[in-house]
């Protein structure tokens, strides 16, 4: 009986230890972003009206890595289709990094290891082009994950 207990512990104790719970939390201060472009203004970019503040927290990760990414679920739809890649963002504080949306492909916004608590800000911008006047919509996901 004792022998069986020793074998059981060797086989199952380690996996139970590795599967320790972890928690990932993300919250955003703004869930609606508006960018107004006036094409008569000779500026290379139109900036979002407000910055987006993002807070993330990871617990129980130990030394495991985490990453925060932005995913454009679609292209901008409106009077015509505008590629999501016309939207980019500027990181207003580290460890967030600048980037550009790509439809269907998560783009890295930040990464790190272990337990973290941080607040960052990003500013979305639209690369000015000759697109039809009107309203265009796009849904974006912010994803905090750990492999």
């Amino acid at each position: 009986m004792l022998w069986w207990l020793i074998v059981f512990s060797i086989l199952f104790f380690q996996p139970i230890t590795w599967a320790q719970d972890y928690t990932l939390m993300i919250e955003v201060e703004e869930d609606r972003i508006e960018i107004h472009q006036d094409p008569s203004q000779i500026t290379p970019y139109a900036l979002a009206q407000r910055d987006v503040t993002i807070r993330i927290e990871t617990k129980g990760l130990g030394k495991r890595p985490w990453s925060l990414s932005i995913l454009a679920l679609e292209d901008l739809h409106g009077p015509e289709t505008i590629p999501a890649s016309e939207i980019s963002w500027q990181a207003l504080m580290p460890p967030f990094i600048d980037g550009q949306l790509i439809k269907g492909v998560p783009q890295l916004l930040a990464q790190g290891k272990g337990d973290t608590q941080l607040i960052g800000k990003i500013r979305f911008l639209f690369k000015s082009g000759t697109y039809e006047a009107g309203l265009y919509d796009l849904r974006i996901q912010l994803i905090l994950s750990s492999p």
């Binding site: 972890y22 990932l24 993300i26 919250e27 955003v28 201060e29 609606r32 039809e132």
Partner: protein, 178 residues
Amino acid sequence: MVKKGFLVIIAMVLGLSVDGWARRDIGLNRSAQVELDLRLKIAVFLFLQIGSPGRVVNMVRFNVTDIPENQPLVEGDFSPTIKIKSNVGKFASISLTVDSSNPLMGKSAKMPLKVISFEGIGDFSGIKGTLDGSPNQKIASFPGKSKKQGSFRFFYHNTYNYPPDIYRGSITFTLSFP
């Protein structure tokens, strides 16, 4: 005392429910994700440039030195660049009109601008006509979403109707949509 306690409780409830964060997700042993809605508003614009950029009025000169038989048509010495750009919409249309209602003025005579004709080059090739002396002559229309660049050649139709002189005047182009 009762009123004071009631106020304190309300303040605490409000303080708990409005924490300034619009969306939140907590993942236990999974990823956490929130969605944002992005709206882009693009304003309507029309861009028209005739000649040099900026607040410059270019001049086209016609040097008339001979009798009409030898010089029936005199081309202007300058063909101004024309650029148009608009984002009104591909199903709308925009119009290019010209105001030639003010005649050319000499010292002793006026010359109506009907003596001047024009012809487009580049993206404007195929557009040609004669100024009609009206304030709102439509000379071309384009799709509402357009970006075109070219130039205009101008010609003076030589006649004997006006005394030798230097005649000056101006025409105004307008790009518009209904």
